[in-house]
Symmetry: C2
Subunit: 276 residues, 2 copies
């Protein structure tokens, strides 16, 4: 018998993967969690029917959400991740030695627990001394912080279910308050091919709050359309002026050249930022 897992990435298009084994499926208080083992992409974390991370291509997303801002900020010490319960973003943050405190705020404890059990390669950093894991609502955490973080990464699921509030203007304003004077925000902002409206509105919201806003891209095969966007808001530092990247990191996607070229946008993506 052949078993195939199909995600409808939009109402009209999907990705389908041959499955070796269903490892676990759970209903958590927040979402439906599944871990499956696939032939093409290895183990796969699926939340509410949407692929979040796979063993084979997770490196792209986690490297790109992390190293672009951490190599732009001149001395990132306190870093916050909102969402990101799989631990992949924390793992990348820990590659920066000057980071003294990496805080993960994840609303769904069961995501962290399942990833600790089945994705040690992703979650291994969560036990480190520099890491603090809080199981709470990212919106509330951010509201009660001021001048607390150098870099904040919004490593959220899609803007449905528990993550809806993580795409609002109010949230970005709260993040601005929670950031120190040289602070940088990066949020994952979906596919330029399929989610142009979302990208356009988030870009507007962030740029109405932060003096500098830039969009950058990375290629992730298991995410809708294969092309993914990240929106960066910065109080002071421009990633394109970061010059020579200061550290040699152990990475497979991100490098000195990608740090700059990821911001070079195809015409139709640039248009998203310019329309009305």
């Amino acid at each position: 018998m052949e078993l195939w897992y199909t995600e409808r990435q939009t109402p009209h298009v999907g990705i389908t993967c041959q499955v070796k084994e269903t490892i676990c499926t759970r209903k958590t208080p927040y979402q439906e969690l599944a871990i499956i083992d696939t032939f093409q992409f290895g183990k796969m974390l699926v939340l509410d029917g949407m692929v979040q991370a796979t063993e084979v291509d997770e490196f792209v997303y986690h490297e790109m959400i992390t190293h672009v801002p951490l190599n732009t900020h001149p001395h990132p010490q306190d870093v916050l991740v909102i969402g990101g319960g799989d631990g992949g973003t924390i793992r990348e943050i820990l590659k920066h030695r000057e980071v003294s405190r990496a805080v993960l705020v994840e609303i769904d404890k069961e995501v962290v627990e399942a990833c600790k059990e089945y994705f040690p390669h992703l979650s291994r950093g969560l036990e480190e001394e520099r890491v603090e894991v809080l199981f709470e609502d990212g919106l509330k955490h951010i509201k009660s912080r001021e001048n607390a973080y150098d870099v904040i990464l919004v490593d959220s699921t899609e803007p449905v279910g528990p993550a809806v509030g993580l795409f609002t203007r109010e949230f970005y304003q709260d993040i601005y308050q929670a950031l120190k004077p040289q602070g940088i925000l990066v949020a994952q902002t979906e596919s330029p091919f399929f989610n142009g409206d979302l990208i356009r509105s988030v870009y507007k919201r962030i740029s109405s709050t932060f003096p500098l806003t830039r969009l950058y891209l990375g290629s992730i095969p298991t995410y809708p359309s294969g092309l993914w966007s990240f929106t960066l808001g910065s109080k002071e530092h421009d990633p394109l002026k970061a010059g020579k990247i200061k550290k040699t990191l152990d990475t497979r996607y991100y490098n000195q050249e990608i740090h700059h070229s990821a911001f070079m946008l195809p015409g139709f993506v640039r248009d998203l930022m310019e329309e009305d």
Copy 2:
């Protein structure tokens, strides 16, 4: 009833698209040809079960295979396309006014005929005066030419069936002979995520023939993994030294910045060129 078309892009992963209508299916002397209308990507040309072009995302592939070499060559006049029966590459070539002759060598006449009927947006250039359409084997055409073209574009299907010979060392050597002294070759070379071995071997073959070889990338949602590679072989001119792009072209993906950033490769892609 919902109708879905699924392409297995590898034995273990596929793309699935909801279909409005099957427009035509034919068995040509060379391959199985189908044109379907999909909700997400509009009309779609499918050869031997593999998506070749869709109305919604064809611009990326056709712009990237064409404008990178044509803006690198200082005065491209004679341009050859091998394959590319849908006409999209010819349409892009014709945007360069200095091109006086664009030759399409397509083995399968029925592809051209079907695209003229159902994809006028792609094939409209094929009737222009500067264009010559030859229904013959690209391998043979190239063997009998010397010092004939400024730019040759290998716009082939996957390296199975009729296109197998278009990925061999001998073919690239014949192309070298068919090019003028400042000539440039670009070949489509599949996905870095799924076809690393092919990219590695084509890169070796082209670089053993041409003094300068470079790989570049573009994001195409309906192609396997969403990330696609092109390999460029050049007798003299370096695309990275092309400086300011000389023409303002009517494009939606390609632009001055993409011309350079497309050559900036993620670490795992760079590794394909360096291994053994």
